[in-house]
Symmetry: none
Subunit: 193 residues, 4 copies
């Protein structure tokens, strides 16, 4: 498609950044409930109409703010063995639970994804990016013969992320990076040849 820009003032990077920063700050400082379009506009100095020009809805703005300002890249570990890799990955993921700000942010995004059907795809896209890391990890394990070839990779990935989200959302038990090796072992125990 032609991106026929035939003139016009160019988009202000300052406004764009300020909006994302304000959204990210509100998300972390006060939780998702405090993230309103009006609050983002007030805090960033960007007009509401400008926000609506660039983001179709609040959750899309917040999702972008989260991925750009809050989420850190989770490195793809490579310890030589699948159990070590998984333990390292889980430990890194569990560490998030130590930062209440980020927990609030994640929970709010998950909630919004449930309440706003139009937001779910954007959220899922991000989730899928994270899943891909684990998929690659497990397939490496299969290739190395550490795991059975018939393993249900989708369910295996769910065994990695499912408990994480479940604890995050229900808060019935803490997430401790120290538990990562045991959890990794429990997950892989059923997947070996």
């Amino acid at each position: 498609m032609s991106t026929a820009r035939r003139g016009g003032r160019t988009r202000s990077p300052e406004s764009h950044e300020a909006a994302l920063a304000a959204a990210a700050d509100l998300l972390e400082e006060q939780g998702y409930r405090a993230v309103t379009i009006e609050a983002i506009a007030a805090r960033s100095g960007v007009a509401k109409s400008t926000l609506y020009r660039w983001w179709r809805s609040k959750p899309e703005l917040v999702m972008e703010a989260y991925t750009r300002k809050v989420a850190e890249r989770v490195a793809e570990p490579d310890t030589g063995g699948v159990e070590g890799d998984l333990a390292a990955f889980l430990a890194e993921v569990y560490r998030i639970a130590g930062y209440p700000d980020r927990v609030r942010a994640l929970r709010g995004l998950m909630a919004e994804a449930q309440l706003d059907p139009e937001f779910l795809p954007a959220f899922r896209e991000w989730v899928d990016g994270r899943r891909a890391i684990v998929v690659a990890m497990l397939e490496r394990g299969i290739a190395r013969g550490e795991l059975r070839a018939e393993v249900d990779v989708e369910h295996a990935v769910d065994l990695v992320f499912g408990p994480f989200w479940y604890r995050l959302l229900v808060e019935h038990a803490p997430l401790d990076p120290a538990d990562a090796p045991r959890h990794a072992a429990a997950i892989l125990g059923g997947l070996r040849g």
Copy 2:
């Protein structure tokens, strides 16, 4: 403060039931977004002030409506072996995914639990009731020597419910009761002696 009841009209069971029924209907028919106090009042004919007299907030009303009108008892299976029990339980749980109404309801409740800190306890209480079934199941397995005694039961339960919720919330893959035996095997594979 004396709370001497010296007479007075008694609580109307009709209003109570009508409110719960309206909330449940709205929850299933149109999803959580459509469940507003005003809609419940309008549909049930129960006044807003009466709703607020008996429930402190919308989510508490809806949670009660869900457990009383929507959720069916999940029978505690007993097939003689832990893997059979777990497979039967998972199959029953996964069946929920075949009813979009109930899926919408569950997702909405989970979302509200994230956004409203005062609701989380009520939601968690319900969740804990469901967890207890699996806890009992696994402990029976340990007692019978099918599982190692040192098993991290909490994490094991998370391996059961985590993937369920994760798929429900993210919708990256369907939940099929036919997968239950394989999933049960994968979960228990790492917990055996």
Copy 3:
């Protein structure tokens, strides 16, 4: 549930009055442009939603505020003769021009009546009430034989109010109560037997 009933908290006279007072004040102090629903809400302490409950639109609120708080009753003069009556009436009407606040108010209302078709009827109703005074005056003159019976009363009334509004709106010339007798004479000159 049961049949239709009529309960409910009664309308707050304080809010009602406060809204009208705020609207009238804004109208006089700063002119019609400053009269916004938001400003009325802010100044009166009455919620916007309450304003919209009681008045369908801003102009209707302002019209009510004007008639109740600003407009003074123009006494129906009775000097015994139609020319004296008319001169007295015109003098009183022209006096309005000496109060810039009220001029601003009148002009704003007239303008809004042009721009908002739904407001015109409310405005016209008020205008008609004022016309009736002059109609009665002229008919008394006809009854007394001071004016010809075939006089076009409608146009005669227009000769009274038309120049008033015209000067008010266009501001090409001042309105001076001292001119009233001469104007009365000019108007009646063409209406006599």
Copy 4:
């Protein structure tokens, strides 16, 4: 509209005309409310910034559009006598009322003149041009001895235009060219020697 032809871009009369035409069309077709700068820009293809370069505000643009595109020259009648002249003039003026488009336009301009103090002068200038016709007419009558020399010409002109505007704005009665002679007689009745 088309753009520049030769090198070294010059000011575009096409844009100018297109803007006026769009404003006039909108004014007549949909009334003053529909005449927005955005609508004029969209319909004419002239950029908002270009509009603001040539006219300081919307009403000034619209006023120019009205006088150039909508208003027809009202011929200065000369029947030999002031009453005939006035009757002819009034008939022509009243005929405007038969064209709803032009009525809408006039009412909108009058309204805007009230709400926007910066526009009033431009509007008054146009009004004064029309007044001058009647002034000349009456002064001819005085010179011919048909009217008293002491006549208050300003008020006399108001007796001509006042009722016209008053009926246009309030719409309490129709304006019919057939009434022109009677109205002329009523107006002049009080001004004769």
